[in-house]
Symmetry: C2
Subunit: 269 residues, 2 copies
Amino acid sequence: MSLPRIGVFDSGVGGLTVLKALAEQLPAHYLYFGDTARLPYGTKSAETVARYAIGAAHFLQGQQIDLLVIACNTATALALPLINQAAHVPVVGVVEPGAAMAAHVSKNRAAIVIGTEATVSSHAYREAMEKRGLVVYEKACPLLVPLVEEGWVDHPVTEQVARIYLNEALAQAASNSDVLVLACTHYPLLAPLLRRIVPPSMEIVDSAESTAREVRKVLMDQQLATGTKDADHRSFRFYVTDSVEKFKRLAIRFLGRQVDHVEHVDLGG
Amino acid sequence: MSLPRIGVFDSGVGGLTVLKALAEQLPAHYLYFGDTARLPYGTKSAETVARYAIGAAHFLQGQQIDLLVIACNTATALALPLINQAAHVPVVGVVEPGAAMAAHVSKNRAAIVIGTEATVSSHAYREAMEKRGLVVYEKACPLLVPLVEEGWVDHPVTEQVARIYLNEALAQAASNSDVLVLACTHYPLLAPLLRRIVPPSMEIVDSAESTAREVRKVLMDQQLATGTKDADHRSFRFYVTDSVEKFKRLAIRFLGRQVDHVEHVDLGG
């Protein structure tokens, strides 16, 4: 059985945290598209993000993918139905798996969600989690992505900024909230720092692993998953809309290893 | 004599600090284009920024402008020659006026330039100032734009971040540097905060006023300037590629007053 071809789409490097979880769980040919010329999506409107995401989906479909992962919370939150309409392959976003994971670990049925301005304004997480019986407080944290991209993942300034955002969230949210959902693919890099800020009893969850499990399930349903877990049975190709060099430089931090096979593509934007 | 039509282009809201200086000095019809769907430019490659800037220049030329101001340091630094080639009207960027102002006020012929990653990597300011006999140290400050856009213009975190960047710059630059050049149109909003950090003897200069003077000069050369300074003889139109509402919300902070007549345009990107 030949390996499935999985398209993974993000506005930039953040989706590499999802790719990492996927690659650990699933042998496949991975085609990663980072729309780095137009990032960040998190500060932009639903219309603009949808237009960009659909362009990326079309590009990846041109690469004969079997399944498309929207490894970007903002694009999933704002444009998943539109991407689904435009795509000819199964599409998996990160919001539903993340919400399901939060519902799974929350004992008190109350959670805090942190993400970009666009993700939070869409209330996609709140809706997905309310459906599962949780009380949800959402908080936008616009400075965390720039801080991660500056490489300040364990820096006193980042800790101070995160404290400001989280203290506000903790003061406003239900007092028995016991889960913090990282609704942005950049935030897993801040997990150790966030761990020091939130109460010890609070669980921190992100969408990467649960999305990977969902992808495996969809592939099995489509009889596209292979049994092998052999690390040799993986390949990676990266497509970016801005500088290849800059992507390579940032990618190591997210993927935990060097990336090769990075190509520049121009979607005409 | 009818009023000149002046196109003003920036990646977002930062160029409004230049528009403000222009409007104070020059009666004109102002057409401001903010490429908010693709901002920020400061983290992107020269090729991408040039492509975006030329698209914006073409759009503004379609609005019958007499002169085009590139009110964006990154676009000026990376793409002014290309924009010049593509434009059929005189083009004024912000780098030369800013560099000239720095040369004018520096007694010790030594300066520090702070800006985005892309502006600093281009060394456009350093070259323009070295031509004028200055010794220049350039420092990229990627977090300052997100902090200004978060509205934290007088926040302890912003002061701490600015101190980190500036202490590094002050340690590396010539010890007799007596000018700090704000090579990003967002930074004038941080001028009071920066004033508290740099030595009292250091002058802080930005490009807004000197660019406005240069525009007046070009218009006089072309016999397009009018004598009136009457504030009634101004009109403003704004075009943005992302959300109109978000632009209006941020614009007040930069322009110091409410903006009306904001239209969404789609450059197909």
